[in-house]
Amino acid sequence: MADSILQVENLVKHYGNVQAVRGVSFHVDEGEVFGLLGPNGAGKTSTVEMLEGLRTRDSGRISVCGLDPQENPGRLKHEIGAALQSTSLPDKIRVMEALRLFSSFYKRHRDPEELLKRFGLVEKRNAFYNQLSGGQKQRLALAMALVNDPQVLFFDEPTSGLDPQVRREIYDIVEELKREKKTIVMTTHYIEEAERLCDRVAIIDHGQVIALGSPRELKDRSGDKTRVEVRLTKPDSPDVLKNLEGVTECRELNGIYILQAQRPPQAIVSLVKHLEIHGNELLGLEILTPSLEDVFIELTGRRLRD
């Protein structure tokens, strides 16, 4: 813990009567990609913005690069880089101008030319910000987060609202930064993103960390069971379904029956037999290998993107 570059203890934040962050604690080691995974409104952005020094906390302790964001905002800002959510640049600023302008604010800076190349924006160097596509804007946002060669990077929902192909481009960029041993704190509500990019993940719900560990550890905790999701023509009882051969657990969520199966083939055979006997039919069936989604469902009884 002592050598962690970022530490958060018992962080609390209220907005009026709403408790957005309720005692969040975690630490991030140098060179680690740390994810805050949770549904919208879980308190991820509030948490990250308190770490960046954009919001004040009600209580708790924060240390980023050995600095308290509230007491030393000026010094801290030289050490961090951020791609924020719901932000923008002036319409008529050119890509290269934006990089140069922002790098001029810092004591330490990286070569804007190199960043242009690296983020695939060379052809767009003289384009106005409002002429860029969503993906290009996001690449520029990430490039701008790096202008001061920061010790810690914060990416708040870096792929939200982007189409799948662009999202993969962003993943490649983050993976490259990961290879360079950059410390990154990112928030996301995409399971794939957290599984693919993060060394460790804190699952956040209703302002609290409900699970924390590497994606592997978290999935192992869910018992490494394959999930079979079925939709039926007629309703059935989860209590009956969970007693079928090969099924260990069953619950119903919005008309979908989620069966946890240790031996999926057997579970499916026994399910089909059971349905035949009761004159019921399958409308759809999906087999899913364990993911962080299962962990989330197990812990909260809800899907991540409800």
């Binding site: 000026g74 932000t87 600023i93």
Partner: protein, 319 residues
């Protein structure tokens, strides 16, 4: 300091690429210039000189439209948030708007003066140091007023409503549209509580009556201290985040910007200097000693320093 310089440079660049800016800061003031000079002053050089005070004041006062709109837009679109994660301070942000606006307004003023000379043959522009001083405190103070407006409103719509509510009395009760002398006595007195009145009158006296800065000290000192106060208030009320609420004290702070001219207004009502000066100038324009006069001498004589009333020793012009 370097942050402030690079921000200022960016804001100047952005303004020049913005059609709205070009319209409000270049085309509209030019429209006023030609309307006043060509129509109100009927292209008569000494009348154009008389109207230069109001024309320059309108150009200066327009600052608060541009600055309030730009700051609210920057906040609404989340542009300010992006600057918030950098070492930029609210002071850098606000001062860069003021300085950029200053740099951008001066060329318009220069072009207006150039046209006054070349097209309307005004040859005597009065006291340059007074003009420069009043322009400077005027641009800074009205710009800061725009920043205060931006801080007490949440959306562009609200900003535009408040701007209208401020703009109309500022231009109609200050002598910027109708000469102050021409207005009913009660309205004149209301005008004495407005900063615009001191700007219009100061610039008019500087151009038309050649007043030097010491003679116009009430005008530039009041506008100068108002500039400091409004800038201070704008820095106290500054918000980076679009969703952060306007603190309740904000409205009190905003009201505080009215204090200097509230007291100055009371004092001026008793002294009556401003209105007397405005009346004298108006009278001179309306009743020139000689109706026909060559453009080169279309200016009243410089008042003698010993003249306690500050009135020019001669009416409008001599042949």
């Amino acid at each position: 300091m370097t942050n402030f310089v690079s921000l200022t440079r960016m804001r100047i660049q952005l303004a020049l690429r913005n059609r709205m800016f070009i319209f409000f800061s270049v085309i509209m003031p030019m429209g006023f210039f030609f309307l006043y000079s060509g129509v109100f002053a009927q292209s008569v050089p000494y009348k154009v000189a008389y109207y230069l005070g109001p024309i320059l004041s309108l150009t200066v006062m327009g600052s608060f439209w541009g600055l309030s709109a730009a700051l609210v837009m920057f906040r609404e679109q989340g542009i300010l948030r992006r600057f918030h994660v950098t070492p930029i301070t609210p002071g850098d942000m606000l001062a860069s708007s003021i300085v950029a606006n200053y740099v951008l307004t001066l060329p318009t003023v220069a072009v207006e003066l150039f046209f006054a000379r070349t097209i309307f043959h005004v040859h005597n522009f009065g006291d340059w140091s007074s003009i420069f001083l009043l322009m400077t405190v005027g641009i800074i103070s009205f710009g800061s007023l725009g920043l205060v407006v931006a801080s007490v409103t949440n959306t562009m719509q609200e900003t535009q409503v408040i701007n209208q509510l401020l703009w109309l009395p500022l231009i109609f009760l200050s002598g910027a549209t109708f000469p102050l002398a021409f207005l009913p006595k009660t309205v004149q007195r209301v005008g004495l509580f407005l900063p615009a009145t001191y700007l219009v009158n100061g610039l008019q006296q500087a151009v038309f009556h050649d007043r030097h800065p010491w003679q116009l000290r009430v005008e530039w000192l009041s506008l100068g201290s108002w500039a400091v106060l409004t800038f201070f208030v704008s820095s106290q009320l500054f918000r980076w985040e679009p969703e952060s609420k306007i603190p309740r004290k904000a409205k009190l702070w905003a009201l505080a910007t009215a204090i200097p001219f509230f007291f100055l207004g009371i004092w001026e009502i008793r002294k009556d200097d401003i209105i007397r000066e405005a009346k004298v100038s108006f009278f001179e324009v309306e009743h020139p000693a000689m109706p026909q006069m060559p453009p080169s001498v279309a200016q009243p004589e410089k008042p003698s320093a010993s003249d306690p009333s500050g009135k020019p020793s001669q009416p409008a012009a001599k042949p």
